[in-house]
């Protein structure tokens, strides 16, 4: 009896935070089939963990944690290329046909996605959270590191980006 309202609540919360799934999946997979697999894996994990969701935590923080945990494991899994759990007829997240695909919007975004792809799985999580406008204390809470550490790392990534851009131009 309680399953339906719980499921409805989950679906509406997920709908509000759907962009997180899309951005995490796009940051960890450049191939469409892998992206769909990863979104499904994240959604299933979110649903399976929903019973343990602690309301004191913001839903976005909880979603980021689960999405990044699943994405990093997916990225590290040596079998990800052979696993396809999503039926071919559709995808959980649908982007309007006229919308640009990730990284195709313009040159600077393409450049940014290229830069993200060069980062390892942990720095990728950090920069994604930063680009999404999260505060340092929120990033620290999601990743489980200190706020000072977040600041140091972001500053290093900025320096690296500056170096890479000056080399490219």
């Amino acid at each position: 009896m309680a399953t339906i309202p719980r499921q409805e609540r989950f679906l509406s919360l997920l709908d509000e935070h759907r962009k997180i799934l899309y951005k995490v999946a796009s940051s960890y997979c450049r191939n469409e089939a892998d992206r769909q697999d990863l979104v499904q894996e994240i959604v299933v994990q979110l649903w399976r963990s929903f019973g343990r969701y602690d309301e004191r935590l913001r839903f976005s923080t909880w979603t980021y944690r689960i999405a990044l945990n699943v994405a990093i494991s997916f990225y590290r899994s040596e079998t990800r290329r052979t696993r396809h759990t999503v039926p071919a007829e559709g995808s959980i997240l649908e982007v309007a046909a006229d919308a640009p695909a990730p990284g195709e919007a313009d040159d600077s975004l393409e450049l940014l996605h290229g830069f993200i792809a060069q980062l390892d799985e942990l720095d990728r999580a950090l920069i994604l959270l930063y680009l999404d406008g999260n505060r340092y204390d929120t990033i620290a809470e999601i990743l489980g590191i200190s706020e000072t550490n977040v600041g140091t790392k972001i500053s290093r990534i900025k320096q690296r980006l500056r170096r890479d851009f000056s080399r490219t131009n």
Binding site: L11, S73, F115, G144
Partner: protein
């Protein structure tokens, strides 16, 4: 161009996503309420099957040990096998307990550390199973023939045959490791075999240990 400019472009794209990104509720309901499983639950299922297979073997060996407690020639190989199977059971139970206590909603570094420890446990179990299998073949023949067929292998085959088998098994271990190190990279067409070879060669274990180090550095810096 710097990171702040790119952040601005990211935010612009983010606003566009509000209008262009939709959830496919029908597929979502199939994924959440259907039979879709996470990778970890699939692993837990496989471990459960492995446990179900190992438990009767442990019981069978235990019963064999009791029955042959005064015959050292049967007792010794049975104890070796029993210790191996108990070791497997312990590692399976530890992995199942680790999976059961994982909460993906915990901070990323904590979960990644625990997942990697789990991976290391699994890799070690696979590596030692593969390494010890050639050595366990001879005690298995001795115990299985006596228990299932009532045939005393010591009487049927001479001691040099048994010792030869043991030595052959021992020689096979470094050979298998050498072959795995040399040819694992060339087995791209058989991902399963490649994974086993990488497990045996210790490549996957080294990679997992390397990731644990990276997690520690990431947390400390």
């Amino acid at each position: 161009m710097n990171l702040e400019d790119l952040k601005q472009r990211w935010e612009d794209q983010d606003r566009k996503l509000d209008a262009t990104l939709k959830l496919n509720r029908q597929l979502l309901q199939m994924a959440t309420l259907g039979k879709a499983e996470t990778a970890l639950r699939r692993l837990a299922f496989l471990l459960g099957i492995e446990l179900l297979l190992d438990l009767p073997i442990a019981l069978w060996l235990g019963s064999f040990i009791v029955d042959h407690r005064h015959e050292i020639r049967f007792l010794l190989p049975a104890v070796v096998l029993h210790l191996f199977v108990i070791g497997l059971i312990v590692t399976i139970v530890r992995q199942l307990a680790a999976i059961g206590s994982l909460d993906y909603g915990a901070p990323v570094l904590e979960i990644q550390r625990r997942l990697e420890s789990l991976r290391i446990e699994r890799l070690r179990a696979t590596k030692w199973t593969l390494l010890l299998s050639p050595l366990l073949w001879t005690p298995l023949v001795i115990v299985a023939f006596e228990s299932l067929l009532g045939v005393d292998v010591y009487a049927r085959f001479d001691m040099s045959w048994l010792l030869g088998n043991l030595l052959f098994g021992a020689a096979l271990i470094p050979l298998a490791v050498w072959i795995s190190r040399r040819y694992a990279a060339r087995m791209e067409r058989s991902p399963f075999v490649q994974r086993l070879m990488r497990d045996l060669a210790g490549y996957n274990l080294n990679a997992a240990a390397g990731f644990v180090d990276r997690l520690a550095r990431f947390a400390e810096e």
